[in-house]
Subunit: 206 residues, 2 copies
DNA sequence: TCATACAGACCAACCAGTCGGTTTATCGTG
DNA sequence: CACGATAAACCGACTGGTTGGTCTGTATGA
């Protein structure tokens, strides 16, 4: 990929994050980059395409990782753990992307929106399926709602983009561990919850 | 409050929710309402004020409820339960407000932004304090991080605005119950987690 | 008569996107 | 290596359209 294209994306990202898609004009972007309107529109067909590219790089990465984790592990507990851990890490790598993703998705043109939605739904499906499996094979509690629990987990993790800071007291890995701990305490079947069994499950993944 | 002012807010809300603050022009709003630019600017000093009012009605309501719940109960478990339950209910009452709140807050002018941020921080503080108390008095696990757990709970609940639908299979009260159940399983001290003790805590609130 | 409520033509500012033109890199050929 | 040609990369003045906000005027009710 061309250098200028990369530089435009890198420059636009924090601007969008801070001021929103409509708070930043193309003129402002090209000025910051040190290029021109011509340069911009040589690499992007529209301002919307820039927005789409930002969305897509993030969601593609997340989906890929989730599919890997999903394929690698067998037990639902291990699967869910791996998915959550890798998902949380993304918030360190792609925080600006994610902020833009969740704040500005309304402004995506329908054709773009559709592509993004498909990948997002796939990702959601992977999580829901892991919970469903865990319920059926008895690792998770029988009395949890798959749908609501899935959305609760998604919400808990997704919300990280609102508050996570690289300079904070906890590293992203620590945050991931805490999330996994909370989730497993919340949904694991009682028989796995005594100290030793639980510790061994937690450690099995590290 | 004047009828027209109310009607403008009610009309603008779903428009902002669907198309975003910048996707809806003042002309479009006044056309839908059946009034004129003059009518609009007689009641609002700017388009931004309309955005602020939407933010403020929601966050003020949430904060008020949380303060009530906080004052009414003594044990941290009861407090946290009541706060979460009342918070979740808000997503049924104020869903459009909340969508706008989380999607368009970047576009608030600094002076408005500051007012909103203060109330939001107060609310956050109430939750954090409840968790801290629960830890100290032994109702909650000793090994949880107050900050991260608090943000996890906030995220789980806040994210509801992305998926909750009034016509869905679960009512908002049921969703609230599930959230409380997940949270308490995740953070309650083990000694409260055997079936009977837990059921009694859950029921004590209903 | 006077203030409040509303109407709607109007304006300055801004913005995404275009387009003719210029520079720079690439490469085949003698 | 030199040279010319072809295309890709980039420049920036310009435009058509839209937007938030203003201002003068009118109607209504106390």
């Amino acid at each position: 990929m061309s250098d200028l294209r990369k530089k435009i994306i890198q420059t636009a990202l924090p601007l969008f994050e801070a001021k929103g898609f409509h708070g930043v004009s193309v003129n402002e972007i090209v000025e910051q980059v040190g290029t021109s309107k011509g340069g911009f529109y040589h690499h992007f067909s529209s301002k919307d395409e820039l927005l789409f590219v930002i969305h897509d790089t993030f969601i593609s990465y997340v989906l890929e990782n989730a599919e890997k984790a999903n394929a690698e592990f067998n037990s639902p507990t291990d699967k869910l753990q791996a998915i959550v851990r890798s998902f949380v890490k993304v918030f360190d790598l792609y925080k600006p992307h994610i902020s833009v993703f969740y704040q500005e998705h309304i402004y995506l043109r329908p054709a773009y929106e559709l592509q993004i939605k498909q990948k997002r739904d796939q990702f959601k499906q992977i999580i829901m399926q892991a919970i469903e499996e865990g319920k059926q094979c008895g690792e998770f509690r029988q009395d949890i709602s798959v749908e609501i629990t899935g959305m609760a987990i998604l919400g808990m993790v997704n919300w990280t983009y609102k508050w996570y800071q690289r300079e904070g007291v906890k590293t992203i890995e620590e945050i991931g561990d805490i999330f996994v701990d909370l989730i497993l305490h919340a949904i694991l079947h009682e028989r796995f919850l005594d100290q030793n069994a639980f510790a061994s499950i937690l450690l099995s993944q590290k």
